[in-house]
Symmetry: D2
Subunit: 354 residues, 4 copies
């Protein structure tokens, strides 16, 4: 951590900051410039990250040097993490396709959608039972009954399943029926829920909040990892911006940004970002081309009869065409870089630019 | 709801949309323009708000006409709502000052801060026991022990108290000790928590999410109101933008926007928006000048020793100066408009502009 | 255009709006719903787009039905436009690679960079002579001298050139030396400059403003097209958001959004979006995978000695690797869709979803 | 400037950076921490601000310590600047009201609006002759003819005038007729125009770009100041965010942020931020309460007949009511702080918090 003092800071103010840093067990390193005095703090800056130096007299600003996350960091785990679930690998050079309807509606419609996506090459079946809806008057999902249907359909077709948990009470229920627990964008900073899924031994997919930076996503992942659950994957699903022609703005840059800072797999969700079916394929291709380890796509056997988000669902036939493209694009990256993690290394190699 | 068809939509596609609207019990009104055919839907558009018309062939776009919230709407309740708690009025022309430390730390420090803010004119004491923290390694609050201290301090000084609940389990505990339950920005769309506080009979202060529009805030309030709890107040605390010199961008426009659409009181939180003490007073004044019914300000007897957010806390002396200014500004608005609700009426009166 | 009246609008207010629409030569279509009266305007809504209906008493809101741009619209020109310059095709299924240094610095360094990018497969040479710099104390470009060097280098290597014009006086100078005129993001709504480049007969590349929507980009293109210059291409280069790990947020969704609404070619600029070299390749791949007709990439023979934006420049060797990937990804899209325009048609075909 | 090296940076890479800093004439100060090596640069960091250290091998990040603007900085000029024009003072504790129509339309309508605002207390008359319009098909202003009308009206009523210049050619024309030249939001980074108005001896009002930070606004002001024109005032007029209920989001925080960093006066424009008349008064009050030195408000004698932005224009009667409120609010701030500059000093006094 570097503490920059105001131009006219008296020595007494500088000494006061130094004493406080040293009282916490770190060493300091003073650098008197022409216009500013700068105090470098040497030692584990996480120890002093909670001290409000900015509230001390004559402190102009505080510049952190290290990222505040540890276990999620690539420095902690240089190789790509791989999450395995029911024989499907996520991360480490694989391309994983997750697909299915927004919500589980009934057995028949779910089976139709699930068969469609499996034939198209999807390995993991998605389906919501606890739906977060903007309006209290909208369809809220089937609850445990929906999870049962999802589980039965997944088993019948040999597909692991992923479903969203919205509150603590959903966790044990979803744990019983589903293979991957999803924490949605609106709950990315629901710290109690993060801890709760961290205490299960199910893989977790954590979606980026619509107003959160890529680094805040890693801090939220840290909550799950710190509870001992290392099977965490992240999901980029769009952030809120002024652009109104899409529901959210898919931030494809977040994919390489996260992969440079972290070893966790990154999945891209083009459906919620786009908010309309005609844009989904282009965004899914962009995500895989940017280095994502997989996609999660809303597919419905009959979008216009969907109870939830039909306007953004692909048909199984559309998804089949997309899946073929994604595999081909992934093949090009793999051919060149070995694995996306390898790609990362190749693309930022410092030595190569010397 | 208005449904705009694509330019070359065939009659069969138009008829298909019409049949679907009419099957739901609404009437339609067809308008064939030169470039587009438009289908107006007559009746309660909330009934058809869940039908994914945009997923139907040749539908170009769907334009809602009405706001999706009901109970929160000013059409539903034309006069300003007033929330009363322990003899303090919030809304309806009053100016309510809430202040106190970010977190309850210990009895002595809480009492020092509380005495300071009471002397300065604050009516309601704030203090967090369950802190939402970006990092799992930061101070997380004292929990129930903190609530007890808050309650005792409030009683000793004759001040009702407000505290944040972060998850369902916190609700009964906070209900036992505090007078107002706060739902934080990160939980604005935690729909389960909204329902849970809606089932209590304690007043609720709902903070706007950092990526949510003013209308989404009203939709979230609707979740609480729909459970039967009508003592809801809203809080503007800044949204996330590209500007980095403040922690968030206080959206003062949201105050009149919400007051035009809704009858609920609006409180402004300048502390979290600013993120630094030297900006808090200017933002608090701006909020009251824009028509807010009150402020909630972080005040600490010794900011540089605060365990949480010390850099944005005012001292009691600074708050006393601010409180005097806020009362004077509120007096000016009151003199002219009677009440902020009256202000609203005066400022948008259609007839006056004829 | 649809005009929604307030709930309690008297007949006299409704008639007043109708008279004003009809006085402008359009017909109206009245629809009295249960809660609102709606006035549909039939005829060319561009005629009445300037009338401030929202300032009339009891008007609640005004909903436009049509896009305000004409010549830029795909309805006006259903096939993809193709821009041809010096034997290079841009749009219509081709993939065009533009590359070169941020600024022209001197003959030797420019030649080194230019040779590098030509060998890697770039067809068009970029280089700035009039640099828009945030600080008045930064290097501002070589001016006409820089354009001469760019032109000579381009001719020597058989590459058409592209350069930015920043003000009206630059246009005739750049027209003399360069093959494509670029209007930068900060000038997207410099309407005088748009008209001026519209009066030349050189192709123009118009970059999206960092705070502008995709539809505003098309409106700005309309200014150029309306002057009679139809050789316009658009460029997505990132928008401003709260995310700080990149300089701007590349909005890949804008590529299919623009292609659905318009026939103009779309180029992606990953360098300015990323702001750092290690992210450029991932963003370039994402852009092409999303359907872009080409890329414009900053490449410098020695990035750490660049006078401008060295931190985001690729080396020629890095660009060669990227170019190979981009061609392969483009090949996959072309194989499936014929052309990106065809891709568009395939991806949003309404009939296919019936 | 502080340069942070990557964790595993070899000594050779560190030495390479040091040599480059020292070659530019600055001294370095090395600090080897446990996880990172940090290089402090001692001397005028503006000299090395253009060196792309981030492009050098093993450099992780570059942290500037000083603001890049000089003449605009409060360190350069500790007291508030005051701009005087035709006997009206702007800044230094005064409250200046500027008002008038969006565009000059004709003599009669201008006179009606001007008389209205003068009676209400406005000191400066605004009116556009060169209008920047999103659509090429909209009314573009009367040009020089409009400036003549503005000048005659201003002289007849004893009001100095302000008008926007959009391109270099407008500057000498506007200089001839108007008293203050305005550079609009879309031109905040039109660096050629900034230099041109910097070469005149007329006061300039520079509006903040809709995607620009407060510090970028000060950098843009620096372009004008660096040409020798010190009569510069800044204008906050809203930034682009995801919120759609206003045209832009007025960033009131920018007012104290700019005043802490700079000595230049700050004017607030509530009309363009709001985009609708019913919100303008609340935003104007908020701006003055946050410490603005004045407001610029669109007022039209008959908003619904305005040729430009009628929906956001106040009537003269509405403006009269607003002006009274603004003066009263300003009086409260003045009473307490002496001047807004004094307010600044009082609000951030470090000593007071010791």
């Amino acid at each position: 951590m570097i503490i920059v003092m105001e131009e006219n800071a008296p020595d007494s103010a500088i000494e006061r900051v130094i004493r406080r840093v040293e009282a916490a067990g770190l060493r300091t390193h003073l650098s008197k410039g022409i216009e500013r005095t700068i105090i470098g703090c040497i030692g584990d800056e996480r120890i002093i990250s909670q001290i409000p130096f900015a509230a001390m007299p004559f402190v102009e600003k505080v510049l952190p040097v290290l990222s505040p996350f540890k276990i999620a960091s690539r420095a902690f785990h240089p190789d790509d993490s791989v999450v395995e679930v029911g024989g499907v690998r996520i991360g480490g050079g694989a391309l994983t396709l997750m697909a299915g309807p927004c919500a589980v509606e009934d057995a028949e419609s779910l089976l139709a959608s699930a068969k469609g996506v499996r034939e198209a090459g999807a390995q993991i079946l998605r389906g919501g039972a606890f739906k977060p809806r903007t309006s209290p008057y909208d369809f809220q999902g089937l609850g445990e009954e929906g999870l049962k249907l999802l589980s039965e359909t997944g088993k019948a077709l040999g597909m692991p399943t992923i479903t969203e948990v919205r509150t603590l009470a959903h966790v044990p229920v979803a744990e019983k029926y589903a293979d991957i627990l999803q924490v949605g964008a609106r709950n990315m900073q629901n710290f109690d829920l993060l801890r709760e899924v961290g205490r299960t031994r199910k893989p977790v997919m954590l979606k980026r909040g619509m107003a959160n930076t890529a680094h805040e996503l890693l801090m939220a992942a840290e909550y799950i990892l710190a509870e001992g659950n290392s099977a965490v994957m992240l999901c980029e699903r769009g952030i809120r911006t002024f652009e109104t022609s899409t529901r959210f703005t898919l931030d494809v840059s977040a994919i390489p940004v996260v992969k440079q800072s972290s070893h966790l797999p990154v999945i891209v969700d083009p459906s919620h970002a786009a908010g309309k079916a005609s844009l989904v394929s282009a965004l899914a291709r962009a995500g895989v081309a940017a280095g994502a380890d997989g996609v999660i796509v809303e597919v419905h056997a009959s979008p216009e009869n969907a109870l939830c988000d039909g306007q953004q669902a692909l048909t199984p036939a559309e998804f089949a065409g997309l899946a073929a493209e994604l595999k081909a694009i992934h093949g090009i990256l793999r051919e060149k870089h070995g694995t996306p993690g390898g790609a990362r290394a190749a693309e930022r190699s410092a030595e190569a630019r010397w």
